[in-house]
Symmetry: C2
Subunit: 201 residues, 2 copies
């Protein structure tokens, strides 16, 4: 019995260390992609930024594509959890929900995802993986939006109304890429949140 | 008098040739940017594609930045003219106008502009020029949208409604980058065109 406990004590901290290393790599990868784009983002650059040896980085992620798609997925999941945590009681004030949804597309994660997306449009090796990742993240965001907006998708047009809102959020993210578009964005979001509120009834 | 006429005859065809060369370079530059992205787009590649010598290309465009920003601007202007030509009598059926506006963001021009946009977010040399170009093209598209939708911007919220529509159109363009999103897009556009029609009164 004593022996088993010792083994567990040794194993658990090792798993924790490994998990912490993986997480540092994923966060460094997203930051790197957001700042330097795909062309400037390599496993070596990310390993250095995360303070991890290149060998350890390659133990966790065999290829550059593995690292960066895993990074965008990980941070997307974190953002989804944070979004749900903002509205712990489920359906909430629609203007607040629309503003929080749009916020998903204006930070470094969107910038990183956009770089990956655009790179995937030219690189055959990256394209199927990013397409699949994008579809998965998109479905999850749609699910959260429907839930928090209290939208009834059995009513005709409601599904498309929510989809159009998320398309607008992505477009607003794009408009924020080169300049700080905050002031204009807030006015557009206020107006469209009101239109959406009417449309969802 | 005879001498003057000869000079004019010689000068005009030369100007025409020069204009045609410039136009070929601009169109080749947009196609190149759409297919290969910024990293794969150089003056030499575009000159070869356009069947123009590198020297002639550099006579028209001194730098890579000159060529590609001029190309995106030129094609944007062509698209604006084509959009106005679709609705020669001004304000038209709003669903048709919304569909035509969204179409601006789903072709090779949008793909090219997106590559330039994303590259500009990382490259200090490109950034101010693309920011300025984007603002100019955005204002012109907004002007056309207001006109063709018959939108009265003196009414509160109307300006933001039209802006949000164009943001949605950009987001729909992004969603079409990696996969053919036509079927979903048509449903979203039909739904939001109806909502917009109600909102604009």
């Amino acid at each position: 019995m004593g022996g088993v406990r010792t083994t567990e004590r040794e194993r658990v901290p090792k798993q924790d260390r490994s998990r912490a290393t993986r997480q540092r790599l994923l966060e460094a990868a997203v930051a790197c992609l957001a700042e330097r784009g795909w062309a400037g983002s390599t496993v070596a650059v990310v390993a250095e930024r995360a303070g991890v040896s290149r060998g350890a980085a390659q133990h966790h992620f065999r290829t550059r594509e593995d690292l960066f798609t895993a990074a965008v997925e990980y941070v997307s999941e974190e953002r989804s959890l944070a979004l749900r945590a903002l509205f712990p009681d489920g359906p909430a004030d629609r203007r607040a929900v629309v503003a929080a949804l749009v916020d998903l597309y204006t930070g470094p994660l969107f910038r990183a995802a956009l770089h990956l997306w655009v790179a995937a449009s030219d690189e055959e090796q990256l394209r199927p993986r990013v397409t699949e990742l994008e579809a998965r993240v998109g479905r999850e965001t749609h699910r959260i939006a429907v839930e928090l907006l209290g939208a009834d998708e059995s009513r005709p047009g409601v599904r498309e109304t929510v989809q159009g809102l998320l398309d607008m959020a992505r477009g607003l993210g794009l408009a924020n890429l080169l300049t700080d578009d905050t002031a204009r964005r807030e006015r557009v979001v206020a107006q469209w949140a009101a239109l959406l509120d009417d449309a969802l009834g």
